[in-house]
C-alpha cells in the first residue's frame, strides 16, 4: 500500500477517535468546562497530564537535541521531569484543596488583590500563547511531511479538530481525548525505539539497550558512538561540560518553570480529593517517564544509525554517493530540513565537524572541502523509522503520534488561556454577575478566539519562534511559581510583597533575555552578542528564570516584612489549604 494512504489511515483514524470522545464527553456546566467537575480518577488524570505536558517539543524535538548535544543536553530530561517532584510536594495538593477553577484566582484571593490577579493573568497568557505557537507550528510540520499538504492547510485541519473537541467538551472533553492521545503518542514513540534497540543491541527495552553492547562491533553502544563521532571531529557524546553553574541553573529553570506552567497545574483541579492530586503527580511522571527514558536511547541510536547510513563502509571509508542516498533523505530534502551541498564536487556526502580546528588537517588530507550535510534536529524522531528501514505502518504511527503530542498540549494551553479570560477577566473583573450559562458561552467564545489567534501565529510564526519556549519557561519560573509557593508556605507574605516580587522576577528575567536576544525579540536590538563571554557569570538567557525566581522570593519577603501583616482571614485561608479535610469539589464561588 502507498505510504501516503497508510499515513492518512493512521492520522484520520486517530482524529475520528478524538472527535468521537468529544461528542461523548460534552460539557454541560462551567464546572465541566473548567475542571471536568472534579471527577477524574488519579491514574486517568496522570495519563492526561502526560499528554498535556508532552508537547511537540518532547515528542519531536527532544531526542534530536540530545542526539546533537549528548550528555550536555541531559538538562532537558532532568528539567522536564524534576518539576513534578515540586508540583507534588509544593503546589498541587494545596491548590486542589483551595478548590477554585484557575491559577490567577488563587493568587488574587490569597494576596487579596485584583492587581495581583491581573499580573498573574498577564503572565499566564504570555507564557501559554508563546507555548501554543510552537505546538501549532509543530503540527504544521508533521502535516506537511506526512500528508503532503502545505503546512498552512495542515494547520487549518489541526485547528478544526481542536476546535471541535476543545470548544465542545472543555476540560471534560480535553481530559478524555488527552488519555487517548497519550496512548497514541506513547505507542508511536516506543515501537520504533524497540525495533531499533533490537537491531543495534539485541535488547528489546531501549533504556537498557542504551547501556548494552553494540552487536555489530562488540563494544558498548555509547563507546561505539563516541568513537564514530570523534573520528569525524565531533565532540565526544558522553563528555562532561565545563560550565556547571549554567547547567545547574538551566536545569533548575526548566524544573520550576514546569511546576509553574498553568496548563499543567489546572489538570490537578480535576481530581476528586487532595490525596488524589498527590497520586496523580506520581502517575503523571510514570507516564511521562515511559517517553523520557526512551528518548535518550532513541537519541544515541538514531545518531549512530545516521552516521552508518552516511558512512556505510565505516567512518574511515568513503562516504555514500549522493545518487545512492536512501529514500528518506530525498523526502526530507524536499522540506528543506535536510540540505546537501557538494563542496568538493566528488558526488559523495561528506558529513563532519568543520568547526573543529584539530580535525581540519585530516579533512584536508581526505580531500574534503567543508561539511556538506546539514539536518534539522527536529527530523530525527520523525525520520527514525525510515532511517532504520522499518515498515510503512510504523511511519504512519509516528505521524499520528507527533500530531497527538502537538494537539493535546495545544488543547491544554487553550483551555488555560480561555478560562483565564472568561473566569478571571470577564467574571472576575468586568461582569461579576454573569450567569452560569453566560459564563459557559463566554468560555467557549474565548476558546474559539484563542484557537484563531494561535492558528494565525502558527501559520505566520514570529521570527523569534525558537526563543519563545525559553520565554514561556522563564516567565512561569520567575513569576508564577514563587508567588504560588509563597502563597502556601508563608502567612507573612502580603499583597504588596507578592506583586513587587512577581514584577521584579518577571522584569529581571525579561530584561536579561532581551539584552541578549533583542528587545521584544526584534532582531538587531540586542545590547550584547549572545555568546558565553558576555553572559553574567556564564549564565545563559535561557537559564535566567531560576535567578529571576530567586529575585522574586527575595523582593517579596523584603517588601512584606517592611509592610503590614496580611489580614486574619487571609492567614486562615492559608491555614485551610494546608489541611486536606474539608475539600469539596472545585467551585467558582
Amino acid at each position: 500500500m502507498d505510504q501516503f494512504i497508510i499515513n492518512l489511515l493512521f492520522v484520520g483514524g486517530s482524529f475520528a477517535l478524538y472527535i468521537g470522545i468529544a461528542i461523548w464527553a460534552k460539557a454541560g456546566s462551567t464546572s465541566d468546562f473548567y475542571v471536568a467537575s472534579g471527577g477524574v480518577h488519579p491514574i486517568t488524570n496522570g495519563a492526561a497530564i502526560g499528554a498535556d505536558w508532552m508537547s511537540a517539543a518532547s515528542f519531536i524535538s527532544m531526542a534530536g537535541l540530545i542526539a546533537a548535544g549528548g550528555y550536555a543536553n541531559s538538562t532537558f530530561l532532568m528539567g522536564w521531569t524534576g518539576g513534578y517532584v515540586l508540583l507534588a510536594m509544593l503546589l498541587a495538593p494545596y491548590l486542589r484543596k483551595f478548590g477554585k477553577f484557575t491559577v490567577p484566582e488563587f493568587i488574587g484571593d490569597r494576596f487579596y488583590s485584583k492587581n495581583a490577579r491581573f499580573v498573574a493573568v498577564a503572565c499566564l497568557i504570555v507564557a501559554s500563547v508563546t507555548y501554543v505557537i510552537g505546538q501549532m507550528a509543530g503540527a504544521g510540520v508533521a502535516f506537511s511531511r506526512f500528508l503532503e499538504v502545505d503546512s498552512t492547510t495542515g494547520l487549518m485541519i489541526a485547528a478544526v479538530v481542536v476546535f471541535i473537541y476543545a470548544v465542545m467538551g472543555g476540560m471534560k472533553g480535553i481530559t478524555y481525548t488527552q488519555v487517548a492521545q497519550y496512548c497514541v503518542l506513547i505507542i508511536a514513540y516506543t515501537i520504533p525505539a524497540v525495533f531499533i534497540s533490537l537491531q543495534l543491541t539485541g535488547n528489546p527495552l531501549p533504556p537498557l539497550g542504551l547501556f548494552s553492547t553494540h552487536v555489530e562491533s562488540g563494544v558498548p553502544l555509547l563507546e561505539k558512538l563516541d568513537q564514530v563521532i570523534t573520528d569525524l571531529g565531533f565532540r565526544d557524546y558522553t563528555a562532561d561540560v565545563d560550565n556547571k553553574l549554567n547547567m545547574v541553573l538551566f536545569t533548575l529553570s526548566l524544573m520550576i518553570g514546569t511546576a509553574g506552567l498553568p496548563h499543567v497545574i489546572i489538570r490537578f483541579f480535576t481530581v476528586p480529593k487532595v490525596a488524589d492530586a498527590r497520586w496523580s503527580a506520581g502517575w503523571a511522571l510514570v507516564f511521562i517517564a515511559l517517553l523520557y527514558l526512551t528518548a535518550p536511547a532513541v537519541a544515541s541510536m538514531a545518531r549512530l544509525n545516521l552516521m552508518t547510513t552516511i558512512y556505510p563502509e565505516g567512518v574511515d571509508g568513503q562516504a555514500i554517493q549522493y545518487d545512492e542516498r536512501p529514500q528518506w533523505i530525498q523526502e526530507w530534502e524536499v522540506t528543506g530540513l535536510i540540505q546537501f551541498n557538494d563542496k568538493n564536487s566528488d558526488g559523495r556526502i561528506q558529513f563532519y565537524n568543520e568547526g573543529n580546528a584539530d580535525f581540519a588537517e585530516e579533512a584536508a588530507s581526505r580531500g574534503w572541502e567543508g561539511n556538506e550535510f546539514t539536518y534539522n534536529n527536529d527530523i530525527l524522531v520523525l525520520a527514525n523509522p525510515e532511517i532504520a528501514n522499518l515498515p510503512g505502518w510504523v511511519v504512519g504511527l509516528i505521524a499520528a503520534g507527533g500530531l497527538a503530542a502537538a494537539l493535546s498540549t495545544a488543547a491544554g494551553l487553550l483551555l488555560a488561556i480561555s478560562s483565564a479570560v472568561s473566569h478571571d477577566l470577564i467574571k472576575g473583573a468586568f461582569k461579576p454577575d454573569i450567569s452560569e450559562k453566560g459564563e459557559l458561552l463566554a468560555a467557549r467564545i474565548s476558546m474559539a478566539a484563542a484557537i484563531v489567534v494561535a492558528t494565525y501565529l502558527g501559520a505566520n510564526p514570529p521570527g523569534f519562534a525558537a526563543q519563545v519556549v525559553a520565554l514561556a519557561f522563564g516567565i512561569a519560573a520567575a513569576s508564577l511559581f514563587p508567588a504560588l509557593m509563597m502563597g502556601i508556605f508563608s502567612k507573612r507574605v502580603n499583597n504588596k510583597g507578592a506583586i513587587a516580587g512577581m514584577l521584579a522576577g518577571l522584569g529581571s528575567t525579561l530584561v536579561y533575555i532581551f539584552i541578549f536576544l533583542g528587545w521584544f525579540f526584534i532582531p538587531g536590538t540586542n545590547n550584547l552578542a549572545n555568546t558565553p563571554d558576555n553572559w553574567l557569570l556564564g549564565i545563559s538567557p535561557l537559564s535566567f528564570g531560576a535567578v529571576g525566581a530567586m529575585i522574586n522570593f527575595a523582593v517579596a519577603f523584603a517588601v512584606s516584612n517592611a509592610t503590614e501583616e496580611p489580614p486574619v482571614e487571609i492567614q486562615e485561608l492559608v491555614e485551610s489549604v494546608r489541611y486536606p479535610r474539608g475539600a469539596g469539589g472545585a467551585t467558582g464561588h
Binding site: Y71, L77, M89, L252
Partner: protein, 87 residues
C-alpha cells in the same frame, strides 16, 4: 490553632520535614550525582560510560518517581494519623 479539633501544627511540621528530606534527595541525584559530582563518580563504569551519565539520563528520573510515590504514601498516613483525612 483555634477552631480545629486536631494538632495542625505538628501535622504541618511533619509535612515540612518530609518535603525537606525529599528535596535533598531530589537535588542530590540531579544537581549532585548527574552534574556537580559527576567527576567524582567517573571511576564507576556503566555500559560504556560512567555513573554520572546514567544519573543524568535515567537515574534521576527513576528517583523522582520513587520520591513522589513515597511522599504520597507517607502523607496519606499522616493525614490519617492527625485526623485531617478527607471525608
Amino acid at each position: 490553632m483555634s477552631g480545629h479539633d486536631y494538632d495542625s501544627v505538628s501535622y504541618w511540621k511533619a509535612n515540612l520535614r518530609l518535603i525537606f528530606g525529599s528535596l535533598i534527595v531530589w537535588a542530590l541525584v540531579s544537581y549532585g550525582f548527574a552534574i556537580l559530582l559527576r567527576p567524582m563518580l567517573a571511576g564507576i563504569p556503566i555500559g560504556g560510560t560512567d555513573l554520572g551519565f546514567w544519573f543524568a539520563q535515567q537515574g534521576s528520573i527513576l528517583t523522582f518517581i520513587g520520591l513522589i510515590f513515597h511522599y504520597a504514601w507517607r502523607m496519606n498516613r499522616l493525614d490519617e494519623k492527625f485526623g485531617v483525612k478527607e471525608d
